[in-house]
């Protein structure tokens, strides 16, 4: 197993703290895309951000990662504010976007090199990490091809591999299962569980309740830009039955 056990550092202290996060896209408008979002994530947790289309999942993730500015509230990663100490905060996580916005004129290998340089992965460990991730995601010889030639699923894989080169304490993914074949979905699901077991934290958004029920230790349900409910492990359990019951009984708000 290549991924280091992170449990020693990951005490009960919160790795991610989202405090009353609000986002308005229009400067003069009154409509909030998300409003008063607050939740935490600690080492070893898998947190699922669940919600219908347009509920505000992606906006929340973009605010957390500093991709878009926050209108109100705060986000702390390992105690570092994404607003005031962005470089320190960002060095603790990596983000896989849903549209795989990646530098498509690089080959897969060049992209992994680039990510290793950005996250300062020691040269000696790059090969080992790549081999470990290759075993998990199976990109094969395509890693030597230019990314613009990749299929949707292959882009997803290279984005995940790139984001994991530095073993982030917090791994953030937006709709990670979209476009993946069932076998790769199973591999990713297995990897998320294993990654959390080694003390790392995973935060991801999804529509897929089955996957959420399978891997999440916490589910943050968003509806209409606000948190509807935060479900702990015991509520999600029982093969996801409670999560699904809750979801379908949530009312029209979730289907907006």
């Amino acid at each position: 197993m290549r991924i280091e056990n992170n449990k020693a550092d990951a005490t009960e202290a919160q790795l991610l703290e989202v405090r009353r996060l609000s986002k308005k896209y229009s400067k003069r408008g009154k409509t909030y895309a998300v409003r008063d979002i607050s939740f935490t994530a600690s080492g070893g947790e898998v947190v699922g951000l669940l919600g219908a289309n347009g509920a505000g999942k992606t906006t929340t993730l973009k605010c957390i990662t500093g991709m878009i500015p926050i209108t109100e509230g705060e986000v702390f990663v390992s105690g570092h504010s994404i607003k005031t100490e962005p470089v320190k905060a960002k060095s603790k996580f990596s983000f896989v976007t849903d549209n795989h916005s990646v530098f498509v004129k690089m080959t897969g290998k060049q992209y992994l090199d680039f990510m290793s340089d950005v996250y300062k992965v020691p040269f000696e460990t790059r090969k080992e990490r790549y081999e470990y991730l290759e075993e998990r995601f199976r990109l094969g010889a395509a890693v030597g091809d230019v990314i613009s030639s990749y299929s949707h699923g292959m882009r997803q894989k290279i984005c995940m591999m790139g984001s994991l080169m530095h073993e982030p304490e917090l791994w953030i993914l937006d709709e990670p299962m979209l476009g993946l074949d069932p076998r790769t979905q199973a591999r990713v699901t297995e990897f998320i569980t294993m990654y959390a077991k080694t003390g790392h934290t995973v935060l991801f958004s999804t529509h897929n309740l089955y996957i959420a029920a399978e891997v999440c230790s916490k589910a943050v349900i968003i509806a209409g830009g606000r948190i509807n409910r935060i479900l702990e492990e015991k509520d999600i359990d029982l093969g996801g039955k409670r999560l699904m019951e809750y979801w379908y009984n949530m009312g029209p708000k979730s289907e907006e």
Partner: protein
């Protein structure tokens, strides 16, 4: 269905002032000034050429109509070639690169319907272009021919026929061009070498034309250019220059029925051939494109040595530029050809300037040329941020200081800018136009002004990036910042070169000692101030600006 598609195309192509389109005032002013200047110069040149050429005698006989027919055929042939090239470019874009291509492929619309609706819009656009060109040519040549109603009518007719003919030929040729482009798709280096070679050849041709124009206006030697051999060549060419020779003769009223008939038959044959080829190949080529993998297989190489973040970012810029032909052209080819441009213009400009103001102003001219042509290289920085596309937002989630992101872009643009200025200064020094001291001065000011422009352009782009929605995020349209940089480059070149010249004349006239030192110090001071201001503009509030950048923001 044809009507629906045509309406859609017209709305998209002609809504210049539509919502969501950013106004490019500098671009509009620049193109207006350039178009007006080109028209004014070409009309003057053509009028003079018509006078000179009409006077050429074959076997001692002056035959104005025959000479004008030859001249008009040669000019029409040149316009025809340019029109076909522009048509190929436009058709290739509309058919195989435009975003709506994939959508149309999946809809129950015949490929011919899509193609013809696009072709009609291209035809309308070509009419505007050809009207401007043909009307000025025909009326400039009217100094030597009689301006009859038939001449005017035929001129207007040519404005309608010419674009149609060029588009038909372009339709046929666009398929082989597409296949060649596809074959060269992953031959990045070959493409770069070819485009650079073509650009250099074009510039050499441009120099020949400029030299020809200079002779036309300044000396009477041009008459000797049209000797017996040249005239025989021109006459042979015009005999076989189908179909433009028919059009030229028709305009001049030479056997109108016969030439009109031949022109009509050629047009019909070309139309049938063109549309037949399109109907046959359009879907096949599009399917070929849709099923292409879009990139070449590469050998998996071992991991590279660890680099600093800025070096990693610069390497990322390199791959993006090297593997995108249009960027490679802007970045490498323009910079490679710049010394050649400076050298050619130096040769022409030096003589012209000496004749006009009776003093040797080589250093001042060199400074002007390096600054003006340098601006063409520096326009590359005007899309420094936009080129990243939406991946720029991914970059925002990484632990990289905004200063590092922008510095990497600045340095990457600066590499070719500095090198091309260095080579340009060295070339004009080695060619003996300027002394080594003057070359060093031109290099210093050129680099300072180049860096200032790059810093300014990069920040302008950061403030208002235009991310392409295409899959490869390629910036295909020139942004407002590009035009602005060209204008600024030209103006600063003119001001600095002009100031140096003025000081040289003024101080020289007063017998001031060390006049050169004063000139250099003044230019250096101006460049240093502009450089400092540009860097301040680039880095001021950078963290805040980058934090606030947001996709989907509405003001």
């Amino acid at each position: 269905m044809f009507g629906v598609l045509l309406k859609k195309q017209l709305r998209e192509k002609f809504s210049i002032f539509g919502r969501g389109r950013r106004s490019d005032v500098a671009g509009a002013v620049l193109s207006t000034v350039l178009t007006a200047s080109v028209i004014a110069v070409s009309v003057a040149v053509l009028m003079r050429l018509a006078e000179v050429y009409a006077d050429v005698r074959m076997n001692g006989v002056r035959d104005t109509v025959a000479r004008m027919s030859e001249l008009l055929t040669v000019i029409y042939a040149a316009i025809f070639v340019l029109g076909v090239l522009s048509g190929i470019k436009n058709i290739n874009f509309e058919l195989f690169e435009c975003e709506d291509r994939a959508v149309f492929m999946a809809l129950p619309i015949k490929s011919g319907t899509v193609f013809y609706s696009k072709l009609v819009v291209l035809y309308l656009k070509q009419i505007v272009l050809f009207a401007v060109t043909i009307i000025q040519v025909n009326f400039a040549l009217a100094v030597a021919v009689e301006l009859t109603p038939l001449y005017i009518l035929a001129t207007l007719g040519a404005c309608l026929v010419f674009p149609a003919l060029t588009l038909v030929f372009s339709s046929i040729l666009c398929f082989p061009v597409f296949v060649v482009k596809r074959a060269l798709r992953s031959g990045y280096l070959i493409t770069l070498i070819l485009t650079t070679g073509v650009l250099a050849a074009l510039f050499a041709g441009y120099r020949f034309v400029l030299e020809f124009i200079r002779q036309l206006f300044t000396t009477g030697e041009i008459r000797f250019f049209f000797n017996e051999n040249v005239m025989n060549g021109i006459i042979s060419f015009t005999e076989y220059a189908y179909p433009v020779n028919f059009l030229a003769k028709l305009v001049l009223g030479i056997e109108p029925a016969k030439n009109g008939l031949w022109l009509g038959l050629t047009a019909i044959a070309a139309l049938l051939a063109g549309f037949g080829v399109v109907a046959l190949l359009y879907n096949k080529v599009n399917l070929m494109r849709a099923s292409s993998s879009g990139g070449a297989k590469r050998k998996v190489k071992p991991f590279a040595r660890a680099k600093s973040t800025v070096s990693g970012l610069m390497l990322k810029e390199f791959f993006l530029v090297y593997r995108t032909p249009s960027y490679a052209f802007q970045y490498f080819s323009v910079a490679i050809v710049m010394p050649l441009m400076v050298y050619f213009c130096m040769g022409l400009g030096k003589d012209l300037l000496t004749q006009l103001i009776m003093i040797d102003a080589s250093a001042e001219l060199g400074l002007f040329l390096v600054l003006a042509f340098g601006a063409l290289t520096n326009t590359f920085a005007a899309t420094a941020v936009s080129r990243d596309g939406n991946a720029f937002y991914t970059l925002k989630t990484m632990p990289i200081k905004p200063r590092a992101i922008i510095t990497a872009k600045l340095l990457f643009s600066a590499i070719v800018a500095v090198l091309s200025v260095l080579i340009s200064a060295a070339v004009i020094c080695i060619a003996g136009f300027v002394t080594s001291g003057e070359a060093a001065f031109i290099f210093l000011i050129g680099v300072m002004m180049g860096l200032a422009q790059i810093a300014f352009a990069t920040r302008k782009d950061l403030n208002r990036p235009e991310f392409s929605a295409d899959e490869d995020s390629e910036v295909r349209e020139s942004t407002g910042t590009v035009s602005l940089i060209i204008v600024i480059g030209f103006l600063t070149g003119l001001v600095m070169g002009g100031l140096a010249l003025f000081m040289s004349v003024y101080l020289g006239g007063r017998g001031v000692e060390n006049a050169e030192a004063y000139i250099m110090a003044t230019c250096f001071a101006i460049a240093a101030v502009l450089l400092a201001l540009s860097f301040r503009y680039l880095y001021k509030g950078l963290d805040k600006r980058l934090y606030e950048m947001s996709e989907g923001d509405v003001n």
